[in-house]
Amino acid sequence: MQYMLMIFVNEARYPKLTPAEREQGTAAYSAYTEALKKAGVLNGGSRLQPTSAATTVRVANGKSQVLNGPYADSKEQLGGYYMIDVPDLDAALSWAARCPGASHGVVEIRPVWTM
């Protein structure tokens, strides 16, 4: 089954990290991504630029509204995601728990519609 792992962390913490902490974080994600690949479950993923680079579009009665910023303001923001293909929800949860994002943020897991 395919799941999307969405990583929510507080963007505001990034500028406060020391270079060592930053390096450690990057290494942790690299290791995690490698593990997903080696397990043969990785099916895609992206790291997103911060919400300061987001733009939101709505169309009402054929007229477009373009706003700076993400869809919603929240304490933690979507920073990236992984697409994984695993046997069941338990497997997805155990992968989510290992994600570095789970330790200083939250990972949401959602099953995907199969076409």
Partner: protein, 390 residues
């Protein structure tokens, strides 16, 4: 600007008509814009815009009978060749009409921060390059005027996609485009293209009420009820076009207005004058080489010489990469393919058009057209054979 007019209506009866009404209007508008900018949180862009206006419009100018020219001079500065073509219309919206970057961005489908940056860059350019605030001399005027007219048309066109004009709070760009068009036409009455553009916009505006049903469904031009068209606006548009043609200098806006005129003939004669429309598009094409004109011409050719001829005219545009993501191209192709009986290709073309359309009511209309093609195709198949066998 419309706020200033409203203020004028309220105050004139009490204090009598001011000596120079235009000057009075401009002063009120300037005051209101300054007030509005102070009220707004992010007043940076408007403050900068007002600085330009303030610099160029000294109080002494209020006594100048040519006051309305100040706005025209501002527009010529905004449409100067040194200003990037894509930012001219936004700049006019900001400096002449006081729009903020967010509203302008929404209209042109650009992120507000991006639009704000482009506007700041453009205004810096005006200051640094020393772009003059003046109506160009006769020799340059026609060419430079074209840039101004193009910007106004872009503003009107962006307002076109809000057929119901539903959000009064968000300003109606079509009204603003027409307001600017009236301004230019009144200040340059001897310029046939200025009259032509205003005529064109009024013809289009006259049909606003007929473009959607009461339920918000899309109504194509061919199916619009001429009685729903605004007669006084059409009369005004026709008068303007006549005046323009007196000058004997044909241009693209007059030609486009003439096309509109040929369409609205239907209210009197019951039929559209497609022969005239085809000839007008021939002329437009030789003037502009625009693929949009070519598409419209192909549609006209389909009416005068049959769907195959129209399709052949469209096929000539196949290699133009700009059309790959242009919904009207695919919608026109779909229509003509259907009329030629190539139903699978028509279906595929409708699919392309639907995927490229952002207005839900137009999407819905196209989906119905496609469904009709699908149904027709299935009824034409001999019973028992699969579709793939065709």
């Amino acid at each position: 600007m419309s706020e200033a007019f409203a203020a004028a209506l309220v105050e004139w009866p009490a204090s009598g008509v001011p000596r120079t009404p235009e000057a009075w209007l401009l002063t009120v508008a300037r005051r209101k814009m300054i007030d509005a900018a102070r009220r707004r949180q992010t007043g940076d862009e408007s403050a900068a815009a007002l600085a330009i206006i303030a610099e160029e419009l000294s109080p002494a100018a209020d006594e100048n009978p040519e006051i309305p020219d100040e706005r025209l001079r501002l527009m010529f500065a905004c449409a100067h060749p040194a200003i990037d073509a894509g930012v001219r219309a936004p700049l006019i919206l900001q400096t002449v009409l006081g729009f903020d970057a967010g509203a302008i961005g929404s209209a042109f489908l650009v992120a507000p921060t991006t639009m704000a940056q482009r506007l700041v860059r453009a205004k810096n350019r005006i200051r640094q390059a020393g772009i003059p605030f003046r109506v160009p001399e006769r020799v340059e005027l026609a060419e430079r005027l074209d840039a101004v007219l193009e910007a106004i048309y872009a503003i009107y066109a962006e307002g076109w996609s809000d057929p119901a004009g539903t959000e009064a709070r968000r300003r109606n760009l079509a009204d603003e485009g027409i307001w600017l068009g009236r301004l230019v036409a009144s200040l340059l009455p001897g310029e046939p293209e200025a009259l032509g553009l205003l005529s064109l916009m009024l013809y289009a505006e006259a049909r606003r009420g007929a473009r959607r049903t009461a339920q918000g469904e899309y109504v194509p031009l061919a199916q619009q009820d001429p009685d729903a068209w605004d007669q006084p606006l059409i009369d005004e548009a026709e008068a303007l076009l006549l005046r323009a043609s007196d000058a004997g200098r044909i241009g693209r806006y007059q030609l486009e207005a003439a096309v509109q005129s040929a369409h609205v003939i239907r209210r009197r004669s019951g039929r559209t004058d497609w022969d005239a429309i085809e000839r007008l598009y021939d002329a437009l094409l030789s003037l502009t080489a625009s693929p949009v004109v070519a598409i419209n011409r192909a549609v006209a050719v389909a009416e005068t010489r049959g769907a195959s001829a129209g399709l052949a005219a469209l096929d000539a545009l196949k290699e133009d990469a700009r059309l790959a993501e242009y919904q009207p191209y695919w919608a026109a192709r779909a229509e003509l393919l259907a009329r030629c009986g190539d139903l699978p290709a028509a279906e595929a073309a409708y699919e392309r058009a639907i995927g490229l359309e952002s207005d839900e009511s137009v999407r819905s209309f196209l989906q119905q057209r496609r469904a009709h093609v699908t149904v027709t195709a299935s009824t034409l198949l001999p019973s028992g054979s699969s579709r793939n066998a065709a």
